[in-house]
């Protein structure tokens, strides 16, 4: 985040700007990747998942 690249001000308006389309596409892509990962884990089997990592804390 370069300090020289200063943020440009928003266009003046009464209502807040909508969520940008790139954010929507990014969230859609991440959700799709997460669902695919879960499906692969279910189909392939194994004990992987967040619980496995939390197990080492117990």
């Amino acid at each position: 985040m370069a300090p020289e690249d200063r943020p440009t001000g928003p266009p003046a308006g009464e209502s807040p700007p909508p969520v940008p389309s790139w954010v929507k596409y990014l969230l859609l892509g991440l959700a799709t990747a997460a669902v695919l990962a879960v499906l692969v884990m279910l189909l392939v089997g194994g004990d992987h998942g967040p619980g496995r990592h939390l197990g080492s804390l117990r």
Binding site: P3, P10, P16, P17, V19, V23, H53
Partner: protein
Amino acid sequence: MIAGPRLRRLLLALHLACSVGWIGAVCAYLALAFAVPATDDPAVIRAAWIGMELVGWWAIVPLALAALGTGVLTGAVTRWGLLRHYWVVVSLVGTVVLTAVLVLHMPDVSTHADRARTAGEQELLAMGSDIAHAVIGVVLLVGILVLNIFKPRGLTRYGWRREQRERARAQGARTWPA
């Protein structure tokens, strides 16, 4: 508080060094992870797991924490803020999640490395590797890096309210009688 240009550049240099160093350290980890399935020499498998543990705890974890710390500090003392722009929020959330997963995953790596230290040849040859975590980590880190370079437009609701307030304050100051 908005910091002066010298402090901002210093923080930016530290943040870049830590972030790019983090990616480099994960690449080193990945090289060791790929060595496990690529060999049939038990000594190489043992060395690779011990190396992954060392690179993880002594390079990846400190660089991740430093990248997160310097990133939060940089956002806090510049006009970008931490919650004003979507690209900053996405970068912050991504970095926090990656750091948390990393810290939670490293004890598993230590367990495997401990096993590799004492395992016999047959057990070593049967050991798996840790390629998936490192590949996912590199992909997400490079994604965050690209986001930080391109800085796509988009104010959050909070950022928009802050801008409106600052705009109103600036207008008030201009119309204040001398």
